[in-house]
Amino acid sequence: MAKKVRIAFLSFAHMHANGYAGELRALPKGSVEIAGIWDRDAARAKKMAKLLGTKAYAKREQLLARKPDGAIVCSENVLHKEDVLAAAEAGCGVLCEKPLAPTVADCRAMIDGCAKAGVPLMTAFPCRFLGTLMRLKERVDGGELGQVLAVSATNHGRQPGGWFADPKRSGGGAVMDHTVHVADLLRWLLKQEFTRVYAAAGFNRFALTRKAVGKRAVDDAGLLSLEMSGGTVAALDCSWSRPAEYPTWGDVKLELIGAQAVARLDAFRQRALLASKRTGKQVELFWGDQAQGGLGGAFVKVLAEGLAPPITGEDGLRATEVVEAAYRSIRDGSPVVLAG
């Protein structure tokens, strides 16, 4: 029997940490243990530790001194680098929430730091593990679409508020938050790199943003136009455009227009609609599935079996490259060329 993998959580600032913790707990008994939780927000660490039946640590170094095998970093975007490098130096393999970092330079430093420490670095792009996306990947790989000419994509969301709406901590708004999922999916599905990026953004366009940001200006509407090395062109709407009254948080949709076929994917379409006094409004309930163990399970497998991560730090960097180019394009009002 493989040894039990011990995993530390470095921050629950990003709500995806809850999902990863759930995935770990769903793995076969004895295969994984949550070694502890550290969070800059001590109260949150305590609350989550209680919920997950583990110990909260006041200092990151105290937890890392417990020599966990791996660390899941879900801190605010701008703090990823610091937390990832600390974990790497302690000899932990790292799963880092997306975006890997807000800048390409930080991503590079994290990749180099983990390589130097000899630990795996995995970027959290959970969409790759959705059942709908895995099925689309199978069919694209099977070649039935022919040459993919164009992709029209959306990754809409609702203004998440909190640190997400503070560029000092998030590195940016909707373009930062919702570009990388689809950028990664396109690279993964099409095996192409991005060569040209144009983006237009709107700032404080939505009531929820105006409420969340105070006097700051945060991009909450964004449209990206992308060109890829194999000739595919793509458009992405990454806006936080879902009002509070909308029945769901947002979407991940891809329409792949191929020379032989068109594929239209709505990743969260498998859902039921609930209208109830209890919920107060219509709510959509997703009942689709994802890969066994999901992203958290894949990370455990990397640690337990010494495998290369299925989603690398380099993948994280490539997605951030698109974000960085998009913000440059928004600033300059013209497309930005990438090396590809």
């Binding site: 709107g202 939505f206 455009s241 227009i257 020379a259 068109v262 013209s334």
Partner: protein, 355 residues
């Protein structure tokens, strides 16, 4: 003129292709109008279109022009101008299928010809008569969405004609951006005003009959729009979504199948489904009814020739953007009090408080 069938406006259809047949059918249901004649370069096709409506097929356009009160031009775009000028010279009111012209210059000449002849010119931007787009516009104008922030429009069709048809001569048709996208571009101009910049990526591959473009438009107010147009699909479909500061509205034609009758006669091999979204009055009929009323001077035209010209201008800017892969800035509207917007490509500050 009274709107009784006996005094119905006599319509001469010029061009008996796909949209010509749709219009011919619509006139059958319009009491104030009667399809009187059809002219087409292909006389057989003209006869085929005329016969079911008891109309006369003409071999010569000038013979048709003598026998009608108004013409309805349903020809490939590049032939619009010549036929508008001929109709105007003959003093006939003109209904013309969209796009008004392939170039702004053609539009200017068409508008001048009709103005000089004092005949109305009505351009078939039929999207303005589609109930789902009427509802969309109404809920933007009534404030349900607050300030519009992101408009998403999608219009996909199957390749509109076989290899060799005029659609696949890019210079003639302008491809999907120009010929198909102009519906949504006109709707955007009509409802949300004139954009400031356009950008787009796409492919036009004539030998494979594939044409697709993804466009981004921006407004000085901070509004953004995305338009997907394609001639790569298996069937016609449209969708829209507009989000604003206070709300969101969306509609996808693929979800609007109100009636689906599936044949089971084929047994285990399966039958064929015929999906329907039934409407008492087709948008084409609503459009032509309105145009007839406008020609009779009983309605203010919902589509002005100048607006049709602006749609052509915008569609050409979109084509230019896709072709050059650069941002194209639209010049400020003629006579507009707004100054031409800033630097190349439009550097702009966060629009926290749209004008």
């Amino acid at each position: 003129m009274a709107s009784t069938p006996t005094s119905a406006l006599r319509i001469g259809l010029i061009g008996a292709g796909m949209i010509g047949s749709v219009h011919a059918e619509a006139y059958r249901h319009i009491p104030g109008a009667k399809l009187a004649g059809v002219w087409d370069a292909d006389l057989l096709r003209a006869e085929k279109a005329a016969r079911p409506h008891g109309a006369t097929a003409y071999a010569r356009r000038e013979d048709l022009l003598r026998e009608v009160d108004a013409v309805d031009i349903c020809l490939p775009t590049v032939f619009h101008l010549e036929n508008i000028e001929a109709a105007a010279r003959a003093g006939k009111a003109v209904i013309c299928e969209k796009p008004l012209g392939r170039t702004v210059e053609q539009c200017d000449r068409a508008i001048a010809a009709c103005r000089a002849a004092k005949v109305p010119l009505l351009v078939g931007h039929v999207l303005r008569f589609f109930p789902e787009y009427v509802a969309l516009r109404a809920n933007i104008l009534n404030g349900s969405l607050g300030e519009p922030a992101v408009a998403r429009l999608r219009r996909v069709v199957c390749p509109p004609g076989p290899v060799g048809s005029w659609y696949w001569d890019y210079g003639v048709s302008g491809g999907c951006v120009f010929d198909t996208g102009i519906h949504d571009l006109d709707w955007l101009l009509w409802t949300l005003g004139r954009p400031r910049t356009v950008y787009g990526v796409g492919h036009f591959i004539a030998p494979q009959l594939k044409d697709v473009a993804l466009l981004t438009l921006t407004w000085s107010s901070g509004l953004l729009a995305h338009l997907e147009v394609s001639w790569c699909h298996d069937t016609f479909s449209t969708s829209y979504e507009v989000s604003g500061s206070e709300g969101l509205i969306e509609c996808d034609l693929q979800d609007a199948v109100a009636l689906r009758v599936v044949s089971t006669a084929g047994g285990a091999t399966g039958g064929s489904a015929v999906p329907e979204s039934p409407l008492a009055k087709s948008p084409y009929q609503a459009e032509l009814e309105h145009f007839i009323e406008a020609i009779r001077g009983r309605a203010k035209p919902i589509v002005t020739p100048e607006e049709a010209r602006e749609a052509v201008e915008l569609a050409n800017a979109c084509l230019q953007a896709v072709k050059t892969r650069e941002v194209v800035e639209l010049p400020a509207r003629k006579g507009s009090r707004k100054p031409k917007a800033g630097a190349k490509g439009g550097k702009r500050m966060p629009a926290a408080h749209p004008e």
